[in-house]
Symmetry: D2
């Protein structure tokens, strides 16, 4: 396994196989060791009953960024705990970008911060996430 290559392979794997990437029309913008960014255009089909972007939409976008960053080292990582704070309502037509960065990585547990911004650069959600790192890797070594 070429280690330098791993984030790119994770980007392809999640880009091809993560079903919510398709369901929401997300674009995986970047995946490096311990960081990632994912974007999406908020459409009418992503809104809640108040006609603003659904909390579940913003979370799903953030969760894909979290999956990329937490799996970027090649070992399988599972989400344990995620906490989201909503900071600004989002309307249809906005383009959202979720950026995830690794704050700490141990043998079993790693922690991340995810910031979601709209087209104006305003923070619309802030997340803190914890993953459990399994012994298994994504790829045969």
């Amino acid at each position: 396994m070429n280690l330098d290559n791993t984030p790119l392979r994770i980007k392809e794997l999640i880009g091809n196989k993560d079903r919510l990437v398709d369901l929401f029309g997300m674009e995986i913008l970047e995946c490096q060791e311990g960081s990632s960014s994912v974007g999406m255009l908020v459409k009418d089909s992503h809104l809640n009953a108040a006609d603003i972007c659904h909390g579940g939409t913003i979370f799903a976008l953030s969760d894909v960024a979290f999956a990329l960053a937490s799996n970027s080292h090649g070992r399988i990582a599972l989400a344990l705990d995620v906490s989201i704070s909503y900071t600004k309502p989002v309307c249809a037509g906005a383009y959202l970008t979720a950026r995830c960065r690794e704050m700490q990585r141990g043998k079993k547990i790693a922690n991340y911060v995810i910031e979601v911004e709209d087209s104006e650069g305003d923070l619309v959600a802030l997340l803190k996430a914890t993953s459990f790192i399994k012994d298994k890797t994504h790829f045969e070594e």
Copy 2:
């Protein structure tokens, strides 16, 4: 406004207008004052790259239950903070039920616990959620 009628009207409003209810094929099972339950069948289109149910899917289901319970009194409530713990991996074919109950409700802030169970009655996710209660109501009085 008939107060007794409000949870039913919220159930109809969210059932008709919440776009993620459609996107994920959720069923709104119940909405009463301060409580709710929502179900869905996990399909292939709801999975992540590891072929298990996406964290964003489970969150979206829970978030709809939260919206129902927190808006069930008729005043508009917005999500401020939600924290989710994942407790068991979920496969395609499972039927998930999210049950939300109000733990406390003040003038501006209310708090909820949401439990998500699979068909076997096992807990698959546990959430704690905080909403901000606006002065506006959903319906003309």
Copy 3:
């Protein structure tokens, strides 16, 4: 090791060795398998600059309840993630009771809800907590 005896031994261990139990004058009221309760009288020395009970005081009380319940099975458990929502301001003179119960317990991870009430039975804080279960036990077997 007599398994039935374990919660009682954990209660003694934490009662004797947890330094914040002393620092805040907490009373360990109960410790059973997967549940616990801890009480304390809020004194002047536990207040913040606004003369209400410090968030850190309420958290510390809850954290001891969490430690009891999560270690009650005899295996060493460490706190990974804790989320607290404050629901009512608390004044000096109030007696607080934190009750913790286990919602789910796997091989490595377990999840808890903690409710903190004042003397009037009102909820003053609500917590969700995740622990990591180590292979080691507290007592020689």
Copy 4:
């Protein structure tokens, strides 16, 4: 009221009146508009039953940093939700520094990230916190 002077007055107010600052021997290192840092030496009286620094100790330190940053603009801010992830065990003798920075501030709600580091610069805890901003100010205008 001299606005530039407000963070300094908040630093004095919390330094003088926050009772946990005394109880734990914290040092308020800095308070500016929307940011702060607080330090403390971990002593034997701050440990848990496993002889490592109590989760409640690390939370209390972080909570004071949060109080400083969230009140630094002069308006009274109350903690609504705080989520903590523990990332490294801390022993007696360590000097901890909690740094809080404002990520977003609206009319009613503001959000913060707090990082707690030990003497070696390792992250020992990561927090995300939400405050409710009251109309009242700390000082007569």
